[in-house]
C-alpha cells in the first residue's frame, strides 16, 4: 500500500495530516507535478483525472480524491474520529468540511491558479477576473470562521477534525496565493496557533 503524491501541493497535505493524526504510517511516493509526471500513462491509469494524491492498495486498486482516501482510513481505523462521531457529529463535521472546502480552500486555490505568474503555463487559460473574484470570498469565509471560533475550540465542534485540516491547509496556502491574513480575527488566530502547533501540521 502506498500514496502517490506531491509534497508541495495542498491536497496531499490534507491526507498526510489526517494519517499522522491517526498514527497510520504509510509509504509516500513523489509524483513531480512540476515535471508533468502526473500526466504520464502510468499515473493516468491510476487516476484518469491526473491528480494527486492517489492511494494504491496492494491488489493494485486505486482510490483518488483526498476525502475518499480519508474516508477509507476512517472506516479501517475509526479512532480518533476525524470525520465525526454519531449521525449528528458526522453530519456537522461534513457540513463544516464542505463549507471550508467550498468557501475557503477552493477560493484560495483558484486565486493561486488564475493569478499566480508561475501558473501561467499550467492553468490554461488563466482568467484573472475569476482569480480576483475569489480573493474576497476567501476573506469573507475567514471572518465567518472567526465568529464561529468564538463559540467553540475547533471548526466543527469540541474536537479536532477534517474541517480543521482543510482550513489549516487553506490558510497556509494563502501565502503562495498572495492573500494576506487579516490581523483583526483574534479567534481565528487562536485556532490557527493551536492547530499549527500540533505535530501533524509538519507531516
Amino acid at each position: 500500500m502506498k500514496i502517490m503524491e506531491f509534497d508541495r501541493a495542498p491536497n496531499p497535505r490534507r491526507v498526510r495530516i489526517f494519517l499522522f493524526e491517526k498514527d497510520i504510517g504509510i509509504e509516500y511516493e513523489q509524483i513531480d507535478i512540476a515535471q508533468f509526471e502526473h500526466q504520464k500513462p502510468g499515473f493516468t491509469a491510476l487516476n484518469p483525472l491526473q491528480r494527486v494524491p492517489v492511494l494504491v492498495l496492494d491488489d493494485g486498486s486505486a482510490i483518488s480524491e483526498s476525502l475518499a482516501i480519508c474516508r477509507y482510513f476512517e472506516e479501517l481505523q475509526p479512532a480518533p474520529a476525524l470525520l465525526g462521531a454519531g449521525a449528528m457529529g458526522k453530519a456537522r463535521t461534513e457540513m463544516w468540511q464542505r463549507r471550508v472546502e467550498l468557501h475557503l480552500f477552493f477560493p484560495v486555490t483558484q486565486t493561486f491558479r488564475h493569478l499566480h505568474p508561475a501558473m501561467k503555463e499550467r492553468e490554461i487559460p488563466q482568467v484573472a477576473a475569476w482569480g480576483e473574484l475569489n480573493r474576497p470570498r476567501a476573506l469573507d469565509m475567514l471572518s465567518l470562521l472567526d465568529k464561529e471560533l468564538a463559540e467553540r475550540p475547533y471548526i466543527a465542534g469540541e474536537d479536532f477534525s477534517i474541517a480543521d485540516i482543510t482550513a489549516l491547509v487553506a490558510v497556509d496556502f494563502m501565502k503562495p496565493a498572495k492573500i494576506e491574513r487579516p490581523d483583526n480575527l483574534p479567534n481565528l488566530d487562536r485556532w490557527y496557533d493551536e492547530v499549527s502547533a500540533r505535530p501533524s501540521a509538519r507531516a
Copy 2:
C-alpha cells in the same frame, strides 16, 4: 424535522432524490431564492452562507450542505446504502461522488451562473471567460463517464449511489446551462435512461 429548500435549484434535488430512494418522508418548506428569501435574517440564522437546502431538526439545530444532510440520513437509516458499503465501497463511492461533483456538477453550475442572462443580477460579477472555460470541462467529464459506464451499471460500481444522483442532477441542469449533451456517448445514454426512469428522478 423539515428541509428548507427551493424546488427549482439543483442541490435540493440531490437531497430529494436521496431521501426518496431511502423511502424517508419529510416536510419540505420552500425558500424562494428568486425573491431573495434565502438572504433574510431568519434563514441566515440557520445557514450563514445563505444556501439551500437546510435540514432543521426538532430541537432547532440545522445542517446545511446537501452531502452532510445525506450523511445524516445514511447514518440513521443505512439501507439502501447510497454512500457505499464497507471501507472500500465507501471510499470508491465518495471518490466518484467527488469526481462527478468537481468535474461535472460544478462546471455545469458555473457555466449557468457566469453565462446565463437570468443570472446577471445575481452572480456579481459574471465572468463570461470563466463560464466559457467550464463548458468543455463538463463535456470532457461526460466522455470519461461514458468510458467508465461501459464497464459497470452505475457510476461507482454495481449499485445505484450518490454518485449517480449528483450526475443525474448535473446532466439535467445542462439544459438551463445551455450545454448540449453529445450524441456519441452510448454508455452514458444507457445509464441516463435507466436512472431517469427511477421514480426518485421525479422527487
